[in-house]
């Protein structure tokens, strides 16, 4: 499928190395690039919140929970059914997660149970509906290059709502993430803030899962913020770096897909972009470690002793 689409890319130039700009003038590459840029903005807002609140595992649970929803949606309504399916599954997962936590299960246990249940259910559904729905790898890695203008519009809208929710409540979210007990004492609506944050995460996961697949959805929400944190201790810088990281790795990843197709390799676009992000993360980790070693060589600021707890 990818190779068939990218066959057009051959018309764009004969050089062995594809230049990193012109391919994106073609709509089937321009649309995914736009989507990845929007997701980069989500990475710098929703992703940073996930990182600050250490919700990576919950987000992982959410992306896997969305998986059977995508399968059901695809089986019932084809591509148009993906989004309603994802939203339904995200809601169901959120309710189940809340109920399990309320029963006193530690959060990690609850997430792991939901993840396994929904995920197995999704795999069974996909294998039952073979032929009508799509392959498991389609749901994992999405149909990055086949996204339509309509699908792009819906995804951008969901991402915009999620980003707006976080931006509007940003300072309160920061307080609650830093010191939930202090925020509660100060009279902030901590539970409401948590719910708003979770809804924003779910919106991005749904938007990304239905278009770029569950695996890339997870990569987009988690990897840029983690990479930025490896590079800087400053929050404003981390936000800017997350956005830049998501945008640059998304762009390079798509360009790699084109480049590989030119060389006759049919690489899964979503997975290629995800791997590009991971590679970028490893580079950031290395750079951060180097900086840390240099900083350790110079006298470090007074490290807090145990007086506070």
């Amino acid at each position: 499928m990818t190779a068939a689409l990218l066959g057009h890319a051959h018309l764009l130039g004969h050089a062995r190395l594809v230049d990193p700009f012109t391919p994106f003038a073609a709509p089937f590459l321009g649309r995914p690039l736009l989507l990845l840029l929007a997701l980069a903005v989500a990475a710098g807002t929703v992703g940073v919140l996930v990182h600050l609140r250490r919700l990576e595992f919950s987000t992982d649970g959410l992306t896997h929970a969305v998986f059977p929803g995508l399968a059901i949606g695809a089986a019932l309504g084809g591509t148009a059914g993906l989004l309603p399916g994802a939203i339904g599954a995200a809601l169901a997962a959120a309710v189940v997660l809340a109920l399990l936590s309320r029963r006193g299960q530690p959060r990690d246990t609850a997430v792991a149970i939901v993840l396994t249940t929904f995920f197995s259910f999704g795999v069974v559904l996909v294998s039952l509906s073979r032929g009508s729905g799509g392959s498991i790898s389609d749901f994992f890695f999405g149909r990055l290059l086949t996204i339509t203008w309509g699908g792009l519009g819906v995804a951008l809208t969901l991402i915009a709502i999620a980003v707006a929710l976080i931006v509007v409540t940003a300072r309160q979210q920061l307080f609650a993430a830093f010191d939930a007990a202090g925020a509660r004492r100060a009279g902030l609506p901590v539970l409401a803030l948590e719910i708003i944050g979770t809804v924003a995460i779910a919106l991005v996961v749904v938007a990304a899962s239905a278009s770029v697949g569950t695996l890339l959805a997870l990569a987009v929400v988690i990897v840029p913020a983690a990479a930025a944190r490896a590079l800087t201790p400053s929050l404003p810088t981390a936000i800017a770096l997350s956005i830049a990281f998501g945008a640059v790795t998304g762009w390079i990843g798509l360009w790699l897909v084109v480049q590989l197709a030119h060389s006759g390799v049919d690489a899964a676009p979503g997975a290629t972009v995800a791997l590009t992000m991971i590679t970028g993360y490893l580079v950031a980790l290395g750079a951060g470690a180097l900086r840390g070693r240099r900083a350790a060589a110079t006298p470090a600021p007074a490290v807090a002793q145990g007086a506070v707890r």
Binding site: L52, R102, R171, A181, L235, A304
Partner: protein, 276 residues
């Protein structure tokens, strides 16, 4: 001092608890603007429950119960905070968090920045404002959290064992800050085990042990027999400081929840586990 003014806190015949039998009963006291009141009693006496009750995080019954209720009108300094040292915020950003209750969803303006700078100056940490919060010493973090409480321009400050774990210079700085706040008209309610510090900064003292034992001028309340009555003879002297020890109470009430000491402040145990 300003007895003619409206008290900031006025409680008559108050009982405080978490739904079951009240933890603390018979509470009658008032805090005037610019006055510091010491709240003294052994562990399990109900001090933290009283503070949580004033914040609306524990239940109360009272003939009269007047406390500040506006956004940001009560500032708190917990005994300890479960704060992640790696969290990427500077001291200044932490202090700015104190403005959020007053700001709501509005964006901070120059006035808010001035209040934050003022709060940092009040605790003597202006020079460290760009330092990552987790890199500060324990005493500096405590003062930073006090500055965060000040940034909401509170009428009432609740300080829970603010002197615990502080070195001498941080203690002196904190005493100085408390005096400055009193001069500005802020009312303070301070729990402490250090009776000398209570004498140093607190005009009046509220002595409790599951019920109110006394409330009067500090020197009248902190007589040996009254303190011994409250602490069941567990009073000792170290370095010229009279300390009321609580070890026997700590073992007697091992299940006692200390709402200010952890991040489940004032909430029934087990119900908010998912909030972590």
């Amino acid at each position: 001092m300003s007895a003619q003014r409206e008290p900031v806190v006025e409680i008559l015949g108050g009982a405080f608890g978490y739904g079951g039998a009240p933890v603390l009963t018979g509470v009658t006291f008032a805090v005037q603007p610019g006055e510091a009141v010491a709240l003294i009693g052994p562990n399990g006496a109900g001090k933290s429950t009283l503070l949580a009750g004033i914040l609306g995080l524990a239940q109360h019954q009272a003939e009269r119960f007047a406390v500040p209720t506006g956004k940001g009108e009560i500032g708190t300094l917990p005994q300890s905070s479960a704060i992640d040292a790696a969290f990427p915020v500077t001291l200044e950003q932490v202090v700015a968090m104190g403005r959020t209750p007053r700001l709501g969803l509005r964006w901070p303006g120059s006035g808010d920045r001035a209040v934050v700078a003022d709060a940092l100056a009040a605790v003597g940490l202006t020079a460290l404002r760009r330092t990552r919060f987790g890199d500060l010493s324990g005493g500096q973090r405590q003062r930073g959290l006090l500055a965060r409480a000040l940034a909401s321009e509170p009428r009432l400050l609740l300080l829970d064992e603010p002197f615990n774990g502080l070195d001498q210079s941080s203690r002196d700085a904190l005493i100085e800050t408390i005096r400055t706040l009193k001069a500005r008209g802020v009312a303070l309610l301070i729990t402490t085990h250090d009776l000398e510090l209570a004498r140093a900064v607190c005009d009046r003292t509220l002595l409790v042990n599951q019920r109110q034992i006394a409330f009067d001028d500090t020197d009248c309340v902190l007589t040996l027999e009254r303190v011994e009555a409250a602490f069941a003879s567990h009073v000792m002297e170290i370095d010229g400081h009279t300390l009321a020890t609580t070890e026997h109470h700590a073992t007697e009430f091992p299940e006692h929840r200390h709402p200010f000491a952890d991040d489940q402040l004032g909430e029934p145990a087990g119900e908010h586990d998912e909030a972590r």
